[in-house]
């Protein structure tokens, strides 16, 4: 602050007034007055915007600099406390936003520790929710859309886009199909137990997927079998609501049943045709 005082002395001459008090003599045009630094010219003022109203106000340059530095120190201290989860920070969060709250020091230590645990959990969940990486093709990538790809020298984990890597592997497979297949076979023959283990694990993980796929395949198979009147379909018809098993039904019976089913279908199609023709005649 001594430097600022010197500047003021240089700018304005000090003169004794009629009451015998030393005052500044105004030699140049004065724009404003500072509480701490006296009269101020245009050079000594800075434009400052107020947050709430959005107005632009002129204020003393030296006072604003001091304020900014103080704020810096305060924010740095507050950040440090936030990161380390100090007692002061946790107690303040307990008090903040509560009506008729106790003074900060009156809260018991058990409550403070519990609050600290809650804050830690919240922070961890926020980290998980945030995207890990951004891909130029597929945008933001979360934990599900990413593959691990080694570590940095500092020890941090590296990641790669799962879809991009899949495309890359598919291209490589198309170019070197024979080579890749040979390598796979060799690996399978060498590490049979390991492959069996990994297969079992993958089946356990994606069991619902496999089952759904198989059910779909079965549904398609059954639909086609009913269309073509295959043996399996007719056997099912014969075995229905009886104590017979599929193997008990003789082939001759199946073929006769097939003929009967064909007859039934023929009757159905003829009756439908007749109905349509009747409707047309009524319209005409």
């Amino acid at each position: 602050m001594k430097d600022n005082d010197k500047i003021v002395e240089n700018q304005y001459d000090m003169v004794e007034d009629r009451y015998g008090i030393m005052r500044q003599r105004v030699t140049q045009k004065v724009v404003g007055v500072c509480k701490h630094h006296g009269y101020a010219k245009e050079e000594d003022l800075v434009d400052v915007t107020i947050k709430k109203t959005g107005k632009i106000v002129k204020r003393c340059k030296f006072c604003e600099r001091d304020k900014f530095e103080n704020k810096k120190v305060y924010t740095e201290d507050w950040k440090r406390e936030k990161e380390s989860l100090s007692d002061y920070y946790v107690r303040r969060t307990l008090v903040h936003g509560t009506k008729n709250a106790l003074p900060m020091q009156d809260y018991p230590e058990i409550l403070v520790e519990a609050k600290r645990a809650v804050i830690k959990l919240k922070r961890q969940t926020e980290i998980i929710k945030q995207p890990i990486k951004e891909c130029s093709k597929h945008g933001k990538l979360y934990r599900e859309d990413v593959i691990k790809a080694g570590k940095e020298r500092s020890g941090n984990q590296k990641y790669k886009c799962k879809k991009c890597m899949k495309e890359l592997h598919a291209k490589h497979y198309e170019l070197h199909k024979v080579k890749v297949k040979l390598a796979h076979e060799q690996y399978k023959n060498k590490n049979k137990t390991q492959v069996a283990k990994s297969k079992a694990e993958s089946y356990k993980k994606n069991k619902h997927k496999y089952l759904a796929r198989e059910n779909e395949r079965k549904r398609i198979y059954d639909r086609e079998a009913t269309k073509l009147l295959k043996d399996r379909c007719i056997k099912k018809l014969l075995v229905k609501r009886t104590g017979l098993s599929m193997s008990d039904v003789p082939q001759e019976l199946i073929e006769t049943m097939r003929a009967v089913q064909l007859l039934k279908r023929g009757i159905k199609s003829h009756s439908l045709k007749k109905k349509i023709e009747d409707k047309k005649n009524v319209k005409d």
Binding site: K230, D248, T256, H270, S271
Partner: protein
């Protein structure tokens, strides 16, 4: 057809009625009656097979004797080959 004494005869009879229906010689009602009749015959055969299974004896059905002595698995079972087996795909 004069008499149906065989499983083959029954099958031929059903197929003949289908041909007649398509050509327009028979009504749908007539064809429906023949279909039901064939079904009832098959159901009797089924009942006989079930009875043999319950007694734990080989079925001896005279209606099927001309084809394969009325036993269960004389003709080889030939599953369809056009569709893939369930294990081959996955």
């Amino acid at each position: 057809m004069s008499k149906i004494r065989n499983m083959e005869n029954l099958r031929d009879y059903a197929l003949e009625t289908l041909e007649k229906l398509s050509s327009g010689e028979i009504d749908t009602a007539h064809a429906g009656v023949t279909g039901k009749l064939c079904e009832s015959v098959i159901s009797t055969v089924k009942a006989q097979l079930e009875y043999a299974r319950m007694i734990q004896e080989e079925p001896n059905i005279p209606f099927m004797q001309a084809c394969h002595n009325g036993t269960g698995k004389t003709i080889e079972h030939q599953p369809s080959k056009s569709l893939p087996s369930p294990k081959s795909k996955y």
